[in-house]
Every structure is written in structure tokens, then in C-alpha cells.
């Protein structure tokens, strides 16, 4: 885009029109919603499904939903889900095999037509998507499903206005401000949302949304039951200097609340050159090898393929599911396991994420979202483990 528009402002309830507009354009809108005592990502048809008035409390091994003392719509951080479940689904069929008279024939997966609009993507999650783009699109081979879904994706980012004790995006230089990689980016303030445009497609949707909003306001002005007393609340207009200031203040709160830090100046290098460090054994004794950290990580991409066959073996589907380097079978080789203890698996995960990833994809594999810290049942903190490896190392 040549000239970025100045941020628009619209009232909170208007977000419904944006959702409607996207649905009208045949997007499946997905966003945060409260389920199973957590804020998770799911189908969103109505603004009523958003976690209005909820927040999350997070620390190593702990996640709790709490009521806010205000009515904020995006007053939480990140939960156990990440958007990767839409671009790189936990379970998908790669191809099927059918036995016909002449033998086996193989039918590739047909092109995916699902268009997702993600509502509420945080800066660290935008960074995670850029990292998975490197993994799935920028090597010698591409993942076809990821490519199709990514191409069609519409991204509505939301700037964080608070941080959890587990957040360290500032260390990883991924946030908290949404800088790029979105179509639209929202900042929530008391009276509504400020909306920035990040792409031509975003501008198009915003323009359509504005005219929709205008029509809605015209409709509401003749609606005697309308509780709205001011037509302007139904229109998106350029944000006022005061609103811009409120948005700056709200975003700064997130920056100010971040206390966790990970030193990155010697990454990559530090971990792969300390493969014999005693800390691996020590953390291996605490780690349960439960795979939680890899499941919640927005960049972890390991998978396995299993054979799903019908009873008479005439039709077989190859099904890909998320896998984890913490699963013992993951390193199976010629009848035995390469990584046969938990310490070696933790070492694989951390060296890959923070060190080997640079060589493979030109970026760290960590965005500082803190999920692996929160969702670790024994509260292992990735930032502490890196610091401990560094400490026991002569410079």
C-alpha cells in the first residue's frame, strides 16, 4: 500500500457489521470465545460470542479466567489455542489410496476452498504466522493446504492493551504493537475501536463496512426502538487526536506490564554449542514430556502421518496429525528410539526452537507469547532454562 490511511474510529457494536461484511464475502470468521474455562478460538457469528468483560491470569503452570471490572472486549492476552489450527489443522487427510483392478491408485487431496478471517490476532501471533510462512512456504517444498489457506486468509489484528506475567514479546522483538502482516488492526479504547489498514484487501473491506455502517445508521434513525441517540456513533470516521492518544496509552500499558525477559544476543549458537550442559539433565527431571508446550506453541510444526484404512483394505487415507518432539516415538529409527529420555527431548525442542531454527528458516522459532510457560503443568519457563544454560557456560 502506498499511503496508509489515518486510523478510523468506530463504536464497539459496529464490529458486528464488520463480521457480517466478512461473512457476506464468504469468510468463516473465527475469533476468541470463552469455552472450557479458557479463551479459545472458534467460529464467531456474533459479537455476543466474544469474551467481553473477561480477562486471563497467567503464570508458569497457571491459567485462570477472571471477570474484569470493566467491559473490555479484548482485555485478555493469549490462551491455549493459536491460529495455526486453521492454517495447519491438527488433523487433515493428505491423500487417499484406492484399490482398483489394475492396482493402487492415489488421489491427491482436492484444493481447499475454506476462507478464514481471523479476528483478534495479537502481534506475537502475526510474528508466528510469518515464521510458519517460512516453514511451509519458503523452502524447496510447500505445504499445499497451508498455501491455499494462507492465500485466502483475512487477518484482523488486535493490539494488546495488557500483558501477562508470561509475556516476553519485547525480548523477541515481535510485539506488543502490530506492525505488519494484517489486513486490519484494531486498538480497543473505552468508547470503541481504532482501526488501521494494512492491505488493499483490508481497505476494501473497511470501505464496504463503512457504507454498511452508514446504511445501518440510516436504518436505525427511522427505527423508533433504537437505543442509539447519536448517528455518528454508527459511522466509522477518522479518529480524533484524543482517541489516538487513548489508543497510544492503552497500547503503552501492555509494554509497561511486560516483566519477563529473554536475552537473545547469543542465540543462535549458545544452545547447540552446549549439548552436554548439565542443565539438560536437570530440566529433564522436571519435564513430564507431556507435549503441552509444543501443542500450544504457535510455531511448532511437527506432524506425523498415519494410515486410516477401511476394513477390507480397499481404501486407505493418509492422515496427518500434529506430533511433538516430546513423544518418544517421534525419533523412532530402525527399531529403536534416538531420543530415549526426557532430557534429550527437551534439549531437542529448545535447541531447535531457539537455535537450529535460525539456520533452517532465518529466524528464531520463538515469538515470546509465553504459552509454553503457562501451559507447562510443572511450570518450566523457557526464559529461565536459556538463562541457566548461559550461566553455566564460560563465555
Amino acid at each position: 500500500m502506498s499511503v496508509p490511511l489515518s486510523p478510523r474510529f468506530f463504536a464497539k457494536s459496529q464490529l458486528q457489521l464488520l463480521i457480517d461484511e466478512l461473512r457476506h464475502r464468504s469468510y468463516s470468521v473465527v475469533g476468541p470465545t470463552v469455552d472450557q474455562e479458557a479463551i479459545v478460538y472458534g467460529d464467531i457469528q456474533s459479537i455476543e460470542q466474544l469474551p467481553r468483560g473477561w480477562t486471563d491470569e497467567q503464570s508458569p503452570g497457571l491459567y485462570r479466567l477472571k471477570r474484569r471490572d470493566d467491559d473490555a472486549w479484548f482485555g485478555f492476552v493469549v490462551g491455549p489455542h493459536s491460529w495455526k489450527k486453521y492454517l495447519f489443522p491438527p488433523k487433515t487427510t493428505l491423500l487417499s489410496a484406492e484399490k482398483i483392478e489394475s492396482g493402487w491408485q492415489f488421489i491427491p487431496r482436492s484444493a481447499d476452498k475454506t476462507k478464514f478471517a481471523l479476528l483478534g490476532v495479537r502481534a506475537c501471533e502475526l510474528a508466528a504466522m510469518r515464521i510458519q510462512d517460512q516453514v511451509f512456504l519458503n523452502g524447496p517444498y510447500q505445504d499445499p493446504l497451508y498455501r491455499e489457506r494462507r492465500k485466502q486468509l483475512f487477518v484482523i489484528a488486535v493490539n494488546c492493551t495488557q500483558a501477562a506475567s508470561t509475556c516476553f514479546c519485547t525480548s523477541m522483538k515481535t510485539g506488543p504493537r502490530c506492525e505488519k502482516g494484517y489486513d486490519l488492526a484494531l486498538t480497543e479504547i473505552d468508547s470503541g475501536f481504532l482501526c488501521e489498514v494494512g492491505s488493499e484487501r483490508g481497505k476494501e473491506v473497511l470501505d464496504a463496512f463503512v457504507s454498511l455502517a452508514r446504511r445501518a445508521s440510516e436504518g436505525s434513525s427511522v427505527d423508533s426502538n433504537s437505543t442509539v441517540d447519536n448517528v455518528s456513533t454508527y459511522e466509522a470516521y477518522d479518529a480524533t487526536p484524543e482517541q489516538l492518544k487513548s489508543a497510544d496509552y492503552a497500547r503503552q500499558q501492555a509494554v509497561d506490564q511486560i516483566t519477563k525477559h529473554m536475552e537473545t544476543s547469543d542465540l543462535p549458537g549458545l544452545l547447540l554449542s552446549n549439548l552436554d550442559h548439565p542443565r539438560w539433565k536437570e530440566v529433564g527431571e522436571r519435564c513430564l514430556s507431556c507435549t503441552n508446550c509444543t501443542m500450544v506453541c504457535p510455531t511448532c510444526f511437527c506432524s506425523s502421518v498415519t494410515e486410516v484404512r477401511d476394513l477390507n483394505m480397499d481404501r486407505v487415507e493418509r492422515e496427518r496429525t500434529w506430533d511433538s518432539c516430546f513423544n518418544p516415538d517421534f525419533s523412532y529409527l530402525g527399531g529403536s528410539l534416538v531420543r530415549n529420555d526426557t532430557a534429550s527431548r527437551y534439549r531437542q525442542w529448545l535447541t531447535h526452537k531457539l537455535d537450529g531454527w535460525h539456520a533452517q528458516f532465518g529466524t528464531s522459532g520463538c515469538v515470546g507469547c509465553g504459552r509454553c510457560i503457562t501451559w507447562c503443568p510443572v511450570g518450566i519457563d523457557i526464559t529461565e532454562e536459556v538463562a541457566a544454560i548461559r550461566e553455566g557456560t564460560s563465555p
Binding site: 511451509f136 484404512r309 517421534f330
Partner: protein, 285 residues
Amino acid sequence: MTTSPPTLHENPWFTHTVRITNLIDETEGVATYQLVMIDGNSSLAYEFVPGQFNMLYLPGVGESAISMSGDPARKDGWIHTVRVAGNVTKTLARLQRGDTLGMRGPFGAGWPVEDLVGNDVVIVAGGLGMAPLRPLVYHLINHREQFGKIWLILGARTSEGLLYPTEYATWQKRDIEVTLTVDRATAGWNGHVGVVTQLIDRLQLPRPEQTHLMTCGPEVMMKYAAMSGLRLGIDARQIWVSMERNMQCAAGLCGHCQLGPEFICKDGPVVRYDRIRPYLFVEQL
């Protein structure tokens, strides 16, 4: 079907149907298959770099990464020498001529054949490690004038395990110095007994700085073969090893085959020794 199959870049999961057109029993539990693609008749169909591999797929059982073991100049099918090890290879061993299976590939980085031009080459194979090296031998023979001296040192547990014995004489004729060794002599064996490194150590390299060493076999054998090569004065950057790891996607997308920062499926299986050395013998890496 009128649509042409997508490239592996577009869809690394694209699987061809191949038919077994020939089957040769090599040694106990090892057989060589000729596989012809029923949907592929283009002249590029069987193109590969020596050292690369295909994923062979037995529906309902799974896939296995198997190196090409045939002549890269031949265009009449994929040649794979397979040892029965897991479920996939066990099922493959029950198939017969005329049966079909799935195949995708070729994948991976092969032997650095361009680097070898004008240079001397030491090839060290252990057991089934000869299979991925045979296309290299064929390539060197096909362009024999481009290369200097060539040694092939081939070891196995017993003489039974020495692959492709009927071809050694032909290779010798094409000016490849073939030496054999076994760990254990059985009746009728009157050649060397001992590990391959003893034979490497005895080599008199006329120009070690222009000599490259290519090795494939058990990891521990490759380790000592590389060390022997270094002692002879071969630069670590001119030593190449072919690694084996759990390969599932073959395209660097599933994460299984990592060794340090390398994806063995896509950065390998043939990797330069100096790059892999720090990770090669770290326990449980």
C-alpha cells in the same frame, strides 16, 4: 487423467503408482526392485542425483525412505535395493512382480558429483550402505574420463553381505580399485578380514588435497571412515556421509529427521562431514 501431476514443490505428497517389473534377491532379507511408473512416461521421469531417495508407500502400512541404487543414466524405472527392517519393508518383501505400490520423489541432496570432477575419489561402503553409493559408482564410470583415481572399499559382516558381487569385475575394468573386507571370515573367504578403516589407512593418496571421500554405512563406521580420511590429509569439507533418520514427509515439513540444525531429508541425506561433525555422535541428539 489429462492433468499433469504437480511438481513436488507444489505438492510433496503427490504419490505415483509404480509397478514392480523386476525383482532380484540380493542377500538374505535384501532384494532389488525395478519400479515403473504407470502414470509417468516423460523422459524426465526417472531423473535423479546419485544419493537421493524416494518414499515408497504401501497403503495401509506406511512409507519408507529408500535410496535409489540404480544407474542414473538409465530411464527404464526406479531401482531400489531394500532390506527388510520395519513393517513397510516387510510388506514390500511379500509383493511380487506385477504388484503396485506408491512412490513419491526423488527427494534429498545427493553426492556432490560436480565437486568430484578432476579429483580423486575414495568410496567407503558398509553393508547395505553400498546401495546409495552404487548410482555414484555408475556415474563415475559413465563419465570415467572426468575423474582421477577411484577407490572403492566395501565392507560387510560376512561375505554374504557384500552387495552386487557380480559387478565388481566390471568396475575394476573401468579403473576402479575395489577392495573388500569382512568382519568375520566364512568358508571360502580368503580376502581381508577386519574393518574398512584398516583398508582406508593403507591407501597411498597421491594428492590428498584433491581427494574426496564418500561414505555410507552404519554411523559408527562412517565416523571412523571420516577420521581415517582426515588422517590421510583429506579436508573435512571433502568428506561426505549419507545419514539415516526417521523421514516421514521427505520435504523438511514434518520435523522428524532433524539432527542438530539439519533436516536430514532435505539438507541430506548426503551431508558434508564438517557440517554434521558436531552433532554426529552426541548421544540421543
